[in-house]
Amino acid sequence: MTPVDYLQFVLAPQVVNGLALGVAVVLVALGLTIIFGMLDVINMSHGEFYAIGAYAALALGAAGIGFWFLLVLVPVLMIPLGMAAERLLIRPVFDTRDRHVTTLLVTFGLGLIVEDVLKIVFGANTQRPPTPIPGATEIFGIILPNYRIFLILVGAAIVLGVAFVVYKTRLGAMVRAAAFDRNMAASLGVPVSLVYAGTFAFGVSLAGLAGVLLAPIYSVFPTMGRDFILLAFTVVIVGGMGSIWGAVVAGLLLTQVQALASLVISPVWTDPIVFGTMVAFLVFRPQGLFGRLGHA
């Protein structure tokens, strides 16, 4: 195999696949990092909300609702779910002295329950909805599945949209103000508890959206959240908890590490390498690449 062939048929497709996975991970990590940056709460059940989104897409898709409509419908349906979770589980323990540990444990429990409920309702088998955009396109001699190209573009659009809302709009300013100083924001008329619930719900809804987008590529099964959340947590840690740009950079970086490691070394060693990177990052730069959302 000539170097050009290697580049065209092995390396480049792997890099693009890594990019698609990177966008997927960034989408899941985005909600996680927003919830952490804003509420200072770790949502261990985030992966299960991602799974709920994927199953909702599967069930509603089977009921005849088109993929394009699902992209809007599922995130909207996730909002009351996220609101309820925040009101019932997060808020009662939000002001305990050990907020981090307590909320982490509560959401861990929620994750256990959701996973089992999904198993009961949908069965334990792996399912896969049909790809909404079939076919492949050749770009510079590299053959790329259309859906992956679509995923990369949509993912980029979502990240930019979220960043725009958070950093450039009045709503985003309110959210950041509430994250920075709850009492000061409240005294300036920001409805803080609504902002908190809304932010949590928004993060959950992003996880659901990721579920809809990723179901056609990565299949749907009850423990899918658990498998994905590891990577998402890694991304959030390496990027700096609560930083949107940190999640983007770290997500793309780590998935390239993963894609290239699986090519150069062996697919079975990718997880240790990726988590090893996370551990190394935490050792040398515990605060991550970028700062916090409310403190930027």
Partner: protein, 351 residues
């Protein structure tokens, strides 16, 4: 008047005594009826109780949530299994597991203790995941299948020998070891070292002003917890005759955390009761549905939200009152001017 830590530990010791009596009862019943299933299950519950004990030492006393404590449990189990396959000696296996987890916990502690809070939880999670995957991929360690065919050993106890294959005998040995680990931990927590840990949990910023090294106390607790988990893990292959990478995965660490929360965070004996409770719950619920996670998850969430001291927190205050009424003569001074304890007290009473 004893200070609060001593008083609550006395109540825990009483609960520990009750636990041992109940366990001896189970052993006697098992021996009489020849029913080995429950004894084997009880032994496994006790082994995992050791893991829960190590989680509680970290979470309940230094305030550090470890989501990867199964790492040391797994290392202990694998080292014990490897030793037993070369040389079937109980004490050698325990010694090797002790050394291996000591070294691993020092390394892990150097990494994990650089960070606090949520980061600590996630880095311990990451460390365990890395090692679990490494073991999962290493063919010499049996890869994903684990290792089977670990010989049934004879455990020499001075003039006696007990076979690990004997349900009653091995149950009693595991009971003795886990309760010894409990006693050791409880003893250490009652020394100045334990008070520093308590103070650390209450207010980490004030501890250095009293002249104590935060880092050293954290390291000591982490290494001690690692060794406790490792020694418990070392017992596992003796019971089941195999080890598998599942022992290191998140589910194992998660179960230990669930046990601690159910039993009562920061009570030590709660971890042991919680572990047994979890096994009982799983087998009862498992007898009518395979979806036991819903019930356990729900109980777990309710405990976190409404019973921060778990089940032991429900019964222990009554025992404490009873104990303090029973000995009104013990109004003598507690340990003279125990500064960390005072820090802990003031921090606990002030909101």
């Amino acid at each position: 008047m004893h200070d609060r830590l001593t008083q609550s530990m006395r109540a825990s010791h009483l609960l520990a005594l009750l636990f041992v009596l109940a366990a001896l009862g189970l052993a006697a019943m098992g021996a009489a009826t020849g029913d080995t299933f429950y004894l084997r299950l009880g032994t496994e519950a006790l082994i995992f109780a050791g893991l829960a004990l190590s989680v509680d030492l970290l979470l309940g006393y230094s305030g550090a949530l470890s989501l990867g404590q199964a790492l040391y449990f797994g290392i202990g189990a694998y080292v014990s299994a490897l030793t037993l396959m070369k040389l079937p000696s109980f004490w050698l296996a325990m010694g090797a597991a002790f050394l291996a987890t000591l070294i691993a916990a020092v390394i892990g502690g150097l990494i994990a203790n650089r960070v606090r809070g949520v980061y600590f939880a996630l880095i311990t999670f990451g460390l365990a995941q890395v090692m679990a995957k490494v073991v999962y991929n290493t063919r010499e360690l049996g890869a994903s299948d684990g290792m089977i065919g670990i010989p049934v050993i004879e455990i020499g106890l001075g003039p006696f020998t007990v076979s690990a294959g004997s349900p009653v005998g091995f149950f009693l040995i595991v009971l003795a070891i886990i309760m010894a680990l409990y006693a050791l931990t409880a003893y250490l927590l009652d020394t100045p070292f334990g008070r520093v840990l308590t103070a650390l949990k209450a207010n980490e910023k004030r501890v250095p002003f009293l002249g104590y090294s935060v880092w050293r106390a954290r390291m000591a607790a982490y290494v001690l917890a690692g060794v406790i988990a490792g020694l418990s893990g070392a017992l596992y292959p003796m019971l089941r005759g195999f080890v598998s990478p599942e022992l290191m995965f998140f589910a194992t660490s998660g179960n230990a955390v669930i046990s601690v929360v159910l039993g009562g965070v920061g009570t030590l004996i709660g971890a042991i009761y919680g572990s047994v409770l979890l096994v009982i719950l799983k087998s009862i619920i498992g007898s009518w549905t395979e979806h036991h996670l819903i019930v356990i998850g729900l109980l777990f969430m309710l405990c976190v939200m409404f019973l921060p001291k778990g089940l032991v927190g429900v019964v222990r205050p009554a025992i404490e009152t009873w104990l303090s009424r029973r000995r009104p003569a013990a109004v003598a001074m507690a340990a003279p001017a125990d500064l960390p304890a005072i820090v802990a007290e003031t921090a606990r009473t002030s909101p």
